[in-house]
């Protein structure tokens, strides 16, 4: 069995030094060590997207990334790093305004994934939104409202022509 090592993680701009098994999935380190519980356990097999986080601006499933694979200067951003109650990001505000959730459990993963999309493609078409989000599952099936919320931040949907 792997033994604990000293590992530094940069999460939401802050460095954290941890003595931890490098084989530990990032998901559980975020949740249990750093108390950032906005990142959810949904399946543990990379199938649902509830645990999505940004690493250097790209979306990763934190249940499938071990902390040993991360470098000290990797920029990890969780849902908590995007906005706080009373100080929502534009995307978070749009999710509230469109009631783009039912139970809300998948929502952090949805917002993190949409955030990455909008950073790389600020004016996605509806098809591009669907395609970028398609691996994030929502059992309440709030999909139509989520697409509307993301499209509203995209500043009007790009023409398909």
């Amino acid at each position: 069995m792997a033994r604990a090592e000293k590992i530094t993680l940069k999460v939401n701009g802050e460095p954290h030094s941890l003595t931890i098994d490098p084989g530990e999935p990032l998901l559980w380190v975020l949740r249990d060590q750093l108390k950032l519980t906005g990142t959810k356990f949904g399946c543990g097999e990379g199938e649902c997207g509830a645990c999505s986080v940004l690493i250097n601006g790209e979306v990763f499933r934190s249940c499938m990334v071990t902390v040993g694979e991360l470098a000290a200067d990797d920029q990890i951003v969780t849902i908590e790093g995007l906005g706080r109650p009373g100080n929502l990001s534009e995307l978070q505000r749009a999710f509230v305004d469109h009631t783009a959730f039912g139970c809300g459990y998948c929502t952090p993963g949805m917002i993190v994934t949409a955030e990455a999309l909008l950073r790389s493609n600020p004016h996605p078409s509806r098809d591009e939104i669907v395609s970028a989000m398609d691996d994030n599952l929502c059992r309440c099936a709030s999909y139509p409202a989520i697409v509307e919320a993301v499209a509203s931040v995209a500043g009007g949907v790009k023409r398909e022509d």
């Binding site: 559980w28 959810k40 929502l88 039912g102 139970c103 059992r139």
Partner: protein, 708 residues
């Protein structure tokens, strides 16, 4: 346990409050009869399907704020928003003045599980009507204090004001003096014709917390010094097997492991982290006994073998004789699959056990059922168990009778630690699964040549079920239930038994129409048991463009159904079928639902679209593959649920022709049911092949095309 004066006073604590209890009752089965006053807990009307008298609590505090206590839970259907909304409107208070305490067994009344699409229509409606009575009550009380006639006072914006002098004013908080009103406040009239109340857009009360990841679900709750625990999971149906051998030493040697031990047929592991527990269960490498039961590989064979007649749920006339004399008679069998609820948050509980007392924070639809389970598991009195229902990350039936709370309590007792028990997908799908049951339905109908249904028999191999007498007017009917000894465990899942029966009945309806050469929509209209289905069919026909000729390999299908307390629904679907790949794509969905009063259009619309997408998933791909020994569905990669790219354009409408009494009738499950059948009917019309088994996977569609 009924709430008593002592509990009430404990809740009041040192603060001064004005407290009400009131009852809310379900009389939604009554639709055609004259209004009857609810009197002493009895509605004297034979049409009432079931009647439960629930109690709810409401406190008015000295600062003018209100706290409402209900034993129900918010599982994403927006109950917290709906109740806050109703109370703040009902007592004319700003929303921030209304606090809700939901699902805590130590401070909430037992008002039943949150299931059966009934929370809004029973609890919500009860609060709304009770607020009317409370306003009157407060006016009377203020009149006593002010020494004036109640007629000279009016309730306005959380205060009682003199009609002719607005400076004479008593805020409701000023009436708070520690008084406890334990008298039942009956809503004035259950069947009033008061103006329907519609809220179009109140946002979710949990919205900001949800989008920032700060809403604390059960797994997010940290009681301090908590470990994780889990049980070994078998691929076999658990009641058919047990662990024969396992490497307990290897499991106990995994770093971070606190305890590994045999428990009944399975084994438990507790460790300092989620990962350590999973590693321990892997190291345990249990060998499970192969079930001895002989094994039939196909689900229909398993269900039919040894099935016995359990009860007749519907019987009128002489169906056997009338079937024999009908000019057109068709017999068919329809089969639906095992399915799984798959909430995004798996079943989860956190337990603390000290001596003979237990506290469990749980993701549950039924905190009072959880309390019974924990008390039984630990063999302690129910009153020593406190269940705190947390926000639920989806449930869909599986969390009505979830074992997670009592399993967590057992793990806590065995280790003397606080334990968090988060189901893995494997355990959720398999080890502890309670599936939506697979159903075999034999259906035979006799019809006249001009398209009137004369007789029908339905034999359902199903735990619970209904026939079609609430949907179609058939003089001679019989519906029977047969119990099947299928070893896969059954549980509740959104839409319950209605989905399976509706698939059989509504597919069969199209087959009959086709045999007679009558348009399926027209055929339905000729045979309706309830006239209100007519406008629903017209509405979906218009929305979907029923009259147009669809493109090649496209088809449009319709279906209708009823659910629960007179909820009626119609759905139309347009599909396309790729004859090469066998892939069915739903191109459009239209739904119309007759559900009485709409409380919150925002949450209703979201729930309804989501429910129709559930129908899409059940029709096209959701399936737990099991046989008489085991399940082959182990994780999310083995079970496809609807995703973004499956979503078609959807149009919905809400009608209220069936009842004019201003009562909300619920709509949480209804839209799932006809959507399944509408899609199946659309596929049949697209390619001319009728499928009798769900789901309509590409393999099944290709096979059907080959055989046609």
């Amino acid at each position: 346990m009924p709430l008593n004066r002592r509990t009430f006073l404990e809740l009041l604590g040192g603060s001064t409050a004005y407290a009400f209890t009131f009852s809310c009752s379900d009389g939604t089965g009554t639709v055609d009869e004259a209004p009857v006053e609810a009197d002493a807990g009895v509605i004297a009307n034979h049409a009432v399907r079931y009647f439960v008298d629930y109690t709810e609590w409401l406190f008015i505090h000295a600062d003018g704020s209100v706290t409402a206590h209900a034993g129900r839970v918010d599982m994403g259907q927006g109950l917290k928003t709906v109740l806050s909304n109703l109370i703040s409107q009902g007592l004319q208070l700003p929303p921030e003045k209304v606090e809700l305490v939901l699902g805590d067994t130590s401070s909430c009344p037992d008002d039943g599980p949150t299931e059966g699409s009934n929370a809004t229509r029973i609890v919500g409606w009860g609060y709304w009507r009770a607020c009317e009575r409370i306003r009157d009550h407060l006016v009377e009380r203020a009149a006593g204090i002010l020494g004036v006639s109640p007629k000279k006072l009016v309730y306005r914006d959380g205060a009682i004001v003199a009609k002719n002098d607005p400076t004479v004013r008593l805020a409701i908080g000023e009436l708070a003096d520690g008084t406890v009103h334990l008298d039942t406040i009956e809503p004035r009239a259950w069947y009033s014709s008061s103006t329907p109340y519609v809220d179009r857009g109140t946002p979710s009360v949990n919205g900001e917390a949800i989008v920032t990841g700060t809403l604390v679900y059960t797994g997010d709750f940290d009681p301090g010094d908590c470990c994780y625990g889990a049980f070994a999971s078998s691929q076999y149906h658990i009641q058919l097997t047990e662990i024969e051998a396992a490497d307990f030493a290897a499991a106990a040697a995994v770093p971070g492991v606190v305890k590994v031990e045999r428990t009944g047929a399975s084994a438990m592991a507790v460790g300092e982290s989620f990962t350590s527990v999973q590693r321990a269960l892997k190291a345990l490498a249990p060998r499970w006994r192969i079930p001895e039961r002989d094994r039939i590989l196909d689900v229909e064979g398993e269900i039919r073998r040894g099935a016995e007649l359990r009860k007749t749920v519907e019987e009128a006339g002489d169906p056997e004789r009338k079937l024999g004399s009908s000019p057109v008679r068709i017999s068919e069998t329809y089969i639906t699959q095992y399915a799984s609820q798959v909430p995004m948050e798996t079943e989860t509980a956190v337990a603390e056990v000290e001596g003979d007392r237990a506290t469990v924070w749980a993701s549950t639809q039924a905190p009072f059922k959880a309390r019974v389970r924990v008390a039984k598991r630990l063999k302690i009195p129910e009153e020593n168990v406190r269940i705190i229902a947390m926000p639920v990350g989806g449930a869909f039936g599986v969390k009505v009778d979830t074992p997670a709370p009592d399993e967590a309590a057992l793990l806590a007792r065995k280790t003397g630690r606080r334990v968090k028990h988060v189901y893995t997908r494997e355990y959720q799908f398999n080890g502890r699964a309670r599936y939506k049951e697979a159903v075999v339905a034999d259906i035979t109908s006799g019809v006249t040549e001009n398209g009137r249904l004369v007789a029908r028999t339905i034999d359902l191999y199903q735990d619970e079920g209904f026939g079609s007498a609430d949907t179609y007017d058939i003089p001679h009917v019989r519906t029977r239930l047969f119990s099947s000894p299928m070893p896969a465990r059954h549980g509740t899942m959104r839409g319950t038994s209605f989905v399976q029966t509706c698939f059989a009945v509504e597919s069969h309806t199209d087959v009959l129409a086709e045999a007679l050469g009558i348009d399926p929509l027209e055929f339905r209209k000729r045979n309706l048991a309830v006239a209100s289905f007519g406008p629903l069919l017209d509405a979906v026909a218009e929305m979907i463009g029923y009259q147009r000729a669809p493109d090649g390999d496209h088809g449009i299908g319709v279906a209708i159904c009823h659910h629960g307390g007179r909820q009626l629904g119609a759905v139309a679907a347009e599909v396309s079928v790729d004859r090469t790949s066998g892939v069915v794509r739903v191109e459009r969905l239209a739904g119309a639902f007759d559900i009485g009063l709409v409380i919150n259009l925002n949450t209703l619309t979201a729930n309804t679209k989501g429910a129709m997408l559930w129908g899409l998933g059940f029709a096209l791909f959701e399936e737990v593959r099991v046989d008489g020994h085991q399940s082959f569905t182990r994780g999310l990669s083995d079970y496809r649920i609807p995703r973004f790219s499956d979503v078609p354009p959807m149009e919905i409408a809400f009608l209220s022709n069936e009842t004019k009494d201003g009562w909300p009738r619920g709509c949480g499950e209804l839209p799932v049911i006809p959507t399944v059948s509408a899609i199946a009917n659309a596929v049949a019309r697209a390619i001319g092949v009728r499928f009798h088994t769900l789901p309509l996977t590409p393999e099944r569609v290709l096979e059907g095309l080959r055989e046609s």
